[in-house]
Symmetry: C2
Subunit: 432 residues, 2 copies
Amino acid sequence: MSERLVIGMLGCGTVGSGVLKLLMDKQALFAERAQVEIEVRKVLVRDPSRVREEWVPRELLTTDPDEIFEDPEIQIVVEVMGGVNPAKDYLMMALQSGKHVVTANKALLAQQGDDLFDAANESGAALHFEAAVAGGIPIISALKRGLVSNTLRSVYGIINGTTNYILSAMTEEGRGFEEVLAEAQAKGYAESDPTDDVEGFDAAYKLAILSSLIFNKRIDVKQIHRVGIQSVAAQDIAYAKQFGYTIKLLAIAKRTRNGLEARVNPTMIPADHPLASVNGVYNALLVQGDAVGDLMFYGRGAGQMPTASAIVSDILNIAVEIDSPPNLLMSCQHSENVAQLSAPDHVINRYYLRIQTEDKSGVLGHIGHLLGKEDISIHTLIQTKHRPGEAEIVLITHPVSEQKLRQAVAELRKLETTRRIDSIIRVEDFGQ
Amino acid sequence: MSERLVIGMLGCGTVGSGVLKLLMDKQALFAERAQVEIEVRKVLVRDPSRVREEWVPRELLTTDPDEIFEDPEIQIVVEVMGGVNPAKDYLMMALQSGKHVVTANKALLAQQGDDLFDAANESGAALHFEAAVAGGIPIISALKRGLVSNTLRSVYGIINGTTNYILSAMTEEGRGFEEVLAEAQAKGYAESDPTDDVEGFDAAYKLAILSSLIFNKRIDVKQIHRVGIQSVAAQDIAYAKQFGYTIKLLAIAKRTRNGLEARVNPTMIPADHPLASVNGVYNALLVQGDAVGDLMFYGRGAGQMPTASAIVSDILNIAVEIDSPPNLLMSCQHSENVAQLSAPDHVINRYYLRIQTEDKSGVLGHIGHLLGKEDISIHTLIQTKHRPGEAEIVLITHPVSEQKLRQAVAELRKLETTRRIDSIIRVEDFGQ
């Protein structure tokens, strides 16, 4: 005997139609596993004529939100429309009236999640968002349930497929950023306006969600230090290879001696680290817990069906608990915001620098002296000559605070012989 | 306001004391996340004087099972004693009286799980076993909850740390099985009687549990085809490298055109496959679902605290739902057994063969002719000479049924020029 569960959907784009497809195709499986029969009653869209999938029954489509929010039989609202507004208003309405919510909306959760979680806690409704981070990888459920016995130390994630595709292609083919971006756009792996991905906004939204689970505090995405990949040059990738590193856009949340740290930036990681071989549009997350040690999760971070997999799993997880009191592990237990993340100044890292200087005798000595004054010691250094009269100096430092590095970079810039500092990239040693 | 939850434990060895430690150290965390205060009331041991950890309070230890099973306040029984008996009787008693159970006992679940799951379903008690497979990796929860929207196609697992340590060391150092096993025993990575690990029993127990979740049917471990690593020679590993492969003990459950397949055996996998770089005592699982695509989970598959992490997470997951009806996703939904797995004969694979023959002209021709008669075509072949008059022929076939391969091997053995067939190892292409 299956119970009947009625849901309403907001949006019917790529992901939305994937969700509908999964719900229609797998009735038998869901009846077996969750003893539930799911009826999609209405799908809110802006313009029904723009829903191209022929198999979407036209009678489901509506442009009137009341058909969802005023229908007392609808118990779960699935939001796959994206954008902060009007999605937020809709979800607030749903939660306040006790309807459960499943959403894939990372931008909304990262920027205005507070209000949604408060509303959910107040009405006792569930607010699930597995699909908002790393697509089909069940990372949210792992952090909330499977690893709940751990104090989580850190997460290091490759959580934006577009930038990982671009960096992977740059690494494999030695090509430059602009060229690979244009190709990614042509292939549909990057948007025509790629800002959201390339400049790290998308990764920062996801990291805000992840780091709130790592730190057990709320975090506003504005608190996250963010650097995109547009400044990574083909030369940097070539030098990284030479030094035994790979450059990835990493989203990092970690507890350090100097406090909590959350940032998205291009990062040099050892070429033999498991994250270094995560290529193309794949996502991966390395999670460190005090009891469990290092765990890695790897899979498709986007795409119609992987994302739909996460959304429908959320629906079924809510379905089997729909007559139970709210599940504390799945609800937001923290109402405080992280007061302050560790000031970037105090963050300790090794750094890679690429500097153009005049090709004069004594230049290396000046640079070494200047770094030494700031207590920065050099791990590796290569000097090459590209053009007459100009030398390129590439170096990796030993661990140093960002503050000291900044001062040293300012001093380096003042040197008469310095023409440009082309790149400053962090080197990550994963707490080793 | 935390609720109080009273638990009883069976066993206080390495894992048991890790569980106690985690429960004692993390009261505050659990109060915050699950609003629960956990009291361990009694720990059943055979001999209290043999519990060496000084921080285990002596008054918890008891040799009388009634102190646990007759205590109506004990709601969860945690079994970490291992072995089939008397663990099974204890857990049956617990489940029949409605106490929830958390167990790490793969041998018990794989051999007599039916009775336990039936008892749990009857009384409505929870039976959680995250720690029984792959230690700290939350794979059971992922399969039961996070991927519930998928029809699962397959799982490929490196789920026995001891054999993976041995094969990794053989691969890295070119040494033989016996030598590396002795070293692993000296280091404590292998038992003094290594049968359970080396011959694949441990992996088969875990695979029985995993494959029941992949196939949605019960499976008895006896149905699983099992080959250990004792027959893998240093030469096989060297040839595998030469051909671009790595040898791993893989536990495999998959749906094929010819039915369901479940087996544990040494397997050649492409050296650039993510599973190939899982070394030492680490575990990894590649899961393929129809919606989610390929997912990989990687982490510590054994050890005190990773295993305790899984057990305590199970406890907390039960704790937050203790006043709710049984969670259908976490209970055993299947009562039928897999009637029949695909007969190994019909399984299609590529194979690696290493053959010692007389070094005579025409030998290669004979072998080629004989394989051709069975419709087996050769993908790669190397012939080398080790001793005067003897040649070693190593080859990898194109895909062929095990039945045909067996016939061909029987014919090969009959050839006058064949001295020995030293190795037959399956080559896995992961459904490509």
